[in-house]
């Protein structure tokens, strides 16, 4: 073997969004004189944006194929409406009601996926149809009324916390469970890095430049510790965070480590080439939309749990937030490029913006203007830096 390049540089693009997130957070920290970093508010950030993050993970798969799903807002509402109605009005057990909600999401996904994958109808058209149909069904089902309140065994998924072990700290107290989780995450990250370096060395692959790796890990660990100590100073770990961790973990794994994930990327990059490489592109297409339906219904359950009820207007327009999260997180509108972590960071950027602007007392009308500008800015930055490289 000849002399190979021993080190590679950090991919600025994937890290850039995290940097932007930190900067936006700090700007609002200054503007709100520190109140956006209070334990309560950090907890709110998760609780308010959990369902958007769930939608963004599913939406990323659609975006990777080069298209979007406009119907998710309606599926959120339809799933939530069914589950809430069954529990409140029919007295069904909560798990069964949730199962029905997920089945409805699945059914909508199968419906959309069938037209898109097997009849070659453009996803934009099909999901515009499911958006209208889903919303209409929700209004019909709820007779335009709100259903609620939801029992505690339903709402805990949106507002509940893991058990805590509080110890006094300064004027307040802190939850030991949070500290333990943060410590476990730290050990996990360090262990993973060491393993990567070992494998790289063993097979002669290039490693990250050491100082860059150090900065990356320090920043990530700082965020982790900041985040969990704040949660610990509030009520501990929200159930929503556990749900999010599981979903994001699964989808990160699927997109980065599995054959199915690779097939989605390949298809988004060049469907014809993927098909001639033995990838069943119709099947990939179908499952991506089925998956989106299921995740949208889960997001609906989480949202209704948090709001304590279901109403026909819920989830209106959230498909746009989910799509924006993917683009802000570096996904390409033409497909084939993007990561789950990017989409999650994108959703958090939107969340921190929303939250910060509300705390500054900015009107919701103006907030939309700012969000639009941030979306455009992020994509412009992405496209122009790519051009320079080429």
């Amino acid at each position: 073997m000849e002399n190979k390049k021993k080190y590679i540089n950090l991919d600025i693009k994937s890290f850039g969004m995290i940097a932007a997130l930190i900067i936006i957070f700090i700007i609002f920290y200054v503007l709100t004189k520190g109140s956006n970093a209070t334990p309560t508010n950090i907890n709110n950030l998760i609780m308010q944006n959990g369902y958007i993050i769930i939608l963004a993970t599913g939406m990323l798969l659609c975006v990777l194929t080069g298209y979007i799903d406009l119907g998710v807002g309606s599926v959120v509402a339809l799933g939530a409406a069914c589950a809430a109605k069954l529990v409140v009005e029919q007295g069904w057990p909560v798990p069964l009601a949730w199962l029905i909600a997920v089945a409805i999401g699945l059914a909508v996904g199968v419906f959309a996926g069938f037209f898109i994958a097997f009849l070659d109808i453009p996803p934009f058209v099909v999901t515009l149809a499911t958006m209208l149909m889903g919303r209409g069904l929700t209004y019909t089902l709820l007779r335009s009324l709100t259903v609620g309140p939801l029992p505690a065994d339903y709402s805990f998924i949106g507002v509940g916390f893991l058990p805590t072990v509080k110890v006094p700290l300064g004027e307040g107290s802190i939850d030991i469970v949070c500290i333990v989780v943060a410590a476990l995450v730290t050990v996990g990250i360090i262990f993973a890095e060491v393993k990567t370096i070992r494998t790289n060395n063993k097979y002669g692959f290039a490693n990250l430049v050491p100082w860059q790796m150090a900065i990356k890990d320090v920043v990530i660990l700082a965020i982790v510790w900041f985040f969990f100590t704040r949660l610990g100073m509030y009520n501990g770990i929200p159930i929503q965070l556990v749900v999010l961790a599981i979903i994001v973990g699964i989808y990160h794994f699927v997109t980065s480590k599995t054959v199915a994930g690779r097939q989605i990327y390949a298809m988004g990059g060049n469907a014809k080439a993927a098909s001639l490489s033995g990838i069943n592109t119709k099947k990939v297409f179908f499952w991506v939309y089925v998956n989106m339906g299921v995740l949208a219904s889960i997001a609906g359950i989480v949202l209704s749990a948090r709001q304590g009820g279901a109403n026909p207007k819920m989830g209106d327009g959230v498909e746009m937030d989910a799509i924006a999260s993917c683009y802000i997180g570096g996904a390409a509108a033409s497909g084939g490029v993007g990561t789950i972590i990017g989409a999650v960071v994108g959703a958090l950027v939107m969340g921190v913006l929303n939250n910060g602007m509300s705390m500054c007392g900015m009107s919701t009308d103006l907030q939309k203007v700012v969000k639009g500008a941030v979306l455009l800015g992020a994509v412009v930055l992405d496209v122009t830096t790519k051009k320079k490289k080429g």
């Binding site: 990327y265 060049n270 993927a274 001639l276 490489s277 033995g278």
Partner: protein
């Protein structure tokens, strides 16, 4: 010629992209009324030079002077050069498929009755005039341009240039997508234009065409002008041009395949039929029977549109056509190739003639492209991808077939055509096939890379693989194949052994079978 008036002079042109010099002090002198060829390997800087000339790279982004008709020109956009009568026709056709022939001829140059309003009578009349220059005056002017073949579309491009009163016409690889017949027709039209006083600059890899049509040849290598050859003055042969391009003598363009015994039949296709994907009663492939043995390289020769690619694609996972019938035998056992996955599982591989559209995910890196087809079978435990093994093997194949790239993580879209083709080849080698069908494996790539591809083909044959090469270049079939089938009008027109293979024998097969198929 008698004329020695210089129409164009490019002096000391230097153009850098982020610090890397693509052109380094290039000089070019073109005489009025001549056909001037630019030769060089891919990446030598030919297209860059022409982009400088036509204003794609505006004045100020390069160093040096452009003197056109005795006047120093500073083009800031393409329109500036077009106003002076310089028109460039790029490799990729710039036609709008659903617009009519007449509309395409005047696209961007609309014939107006008043500001913003198109004068259709004038458009049609002038279109007819322009089309006369290229012999297409009898085409239906209102037909959508995509109803014409590629050859005629290329001629429409030239008519479009003629409609702009072109004086200096630049053609970038005009015959790359054309078959021999269409190419010959295009070359004749170039000679006609020359008689009418149009000066031409042509970029082409097809040296036989250049030596036939050109009056002088400027050779560019690594961004520098090496020499200019003049017809009737300098030595004028393909070998001489290649020597200039690669900087050394290339004694044999096709490496010898020795120590390669031919074994048993690996794949046999019997009675293969297929119909057009949209027109259900149009039979495209008629009763094709072929076989290929281990260690054997078999050619599929024929004109473009004869049905070779259609055959390969219909065979490979029924990727082309409908109502497909016929049998495929691998090692004597009947197998299904109904889906691409079936074909891959049965050890068949197919590299497309169009690597960018059908072969590669250009935004992905070398490694991901290489393992795309083999992923499920060789780089995954169940669903989970073994990325470490991927990296190791991608490295190995990169070395093995000499992909020139900074690392296996470089994006495929940034590679040259030859290196992209090598990645496609590696992608299919990694599926460990028994049969490889290579469709135009060297289209649009330079002499050096071609040689390397031929070497890779030889190596695979030596490993006992059966190889089918589809090529429109008869020389390539003759140079690489042990045996060849000539396909014409969707049927086998003949089978030629190595000893019988020649351009004449292939053409004779085609001519003899023409029209015979119709009952």
């Amino acid at each position: 010629m008698g004329m020695s008036e210089i129409i164009l002079e490019m002096k000391h042109i230097t153009k850098a992209f982020s610090g890397v010099k693509a052109l380094d002090d290039v000089n070019l002198q073109v005489q009025k009324g001549e056909i001037h060829a630019l030769c060089g390997e891919n990446g030598a800087g030919k297209s860059t030079l022409m982009n400088v000339l036509s204003g794609v790279y505006p004045h100020g982004t390069y160093d040096g002077d452009i003197i056109y008709k005795g006047e120093t020109c500073k083009f800031h956009r393409i329109k500036d050069s077009e106003n002076k009568g310089i028109v460039i026709i790029h490799q990729e056709l710039a036609l709008s498929p659903y617009l009519s022939i007449a509309e395409n001829v005047f696209m961007g140059n609309e014939q107006l009755s008043m500001r913003g309003v198109i004068d259709w009578t004038k458009t049609r009349e002038r279109a007819k005039e322009a089309l006369e220059h290229v012999g297409l005056q009898n085409e239906n002017l209102n037909a959508p341009v995509n109803t014409l073949g590629v050859g005629k579309q290329q001629l429409i491009e030239i008519a479009k240039a003629m409609a702009k009163n072109v004086e200096l016409l630049i053609l970038d690889e005009p015959t790359a997508a054309l078959n021999d017949e269409e190419s010959a027709q295009l070359l004749e039209i170039m000679l006609e234009l020359k008689k009418k006083g149009v000066t031409c600059i042509i970029i082409s890899h097809k040296l036989n065409e250049i030596s036939y049509v050109a009056d002088s040849i400027t050779i560019i290598r690594d961004g520098k002008t090496i020499e200019t050859l003049k017809k009737g003055v300098d030595e004028w042969s393909e070998d001489r041009i290649i020597k200039g391009m690669v900087g050394r003598e290339m004694n044999n363009r096709y490496p010898v395949r020795d120590n390669c015994p031919i074994g048993d039949v690996v794949m046999e296709v019997k009675n293969w039929n297929a119909y057009h994907p949209e027109i259900a009663d149009k039979q495209i492939l008629k009763n094709i029977n072929i076989k290929v043995r281990a260690g054997e390289v078999v050619g599929l020769a024929g004109l473009m549109g004869a049905g070779r690619t259609e055959f390969a694609m219909s065979l490979f996972g029924h990727s082309y056509g409908q109502k497909i019938s016929g049998e495929v035998y691998m090692h004597g056992k009947k197998v299904s190739t109904k889906t691409v996955k079936d074909a891959i599982d049965n050890k068949i591989a197919y590299t497309s003639e169009d690597r960018k559209t059908y072969g590669l995910v250009l935004i992905n890196d070398i490694k991901t492209n290489m393992t795309m087809a083999a992923l499920r079978a060789y780089y995954a435990n169940g669903q989970i991808v073994n990325e470490r093994q991927e990296n190791l093997d991608a490295e190995e194949y990169k070395e093995k077939i000499n992909v020139k790239a900074t690392s296996i993580h470089q994006t495929v879209g940034s590679l040259s055509g030859g290196n992209q083709q090598k990645v496609v080849l590696a992608k299919w080698m990694m599926t460990h096939p028994d049969v490889l069908i290579l469709d135009e494996p060297t289209r649009g790539i330079d002499v050096g890379a071609k040689y390397e591809i031929y070497c890779a083909i030889n190596d695979m044959a030596r490993e006992g693989k059966a190889i089918i090469v589809i090529s429109s270049e008869m020389q390539e079939i003759i140079g690489t194949c042990d045996r060849a089938y000539v396909i014409n009008e969707g049927r086998i027109a003949g089978e030629l052994d190595r000893s019988e293979l020649s351009q004449e024998s292939i053409m004779k097969c085609i001519m003899d079978s023409n029209g015979k198929g119709e009952e």
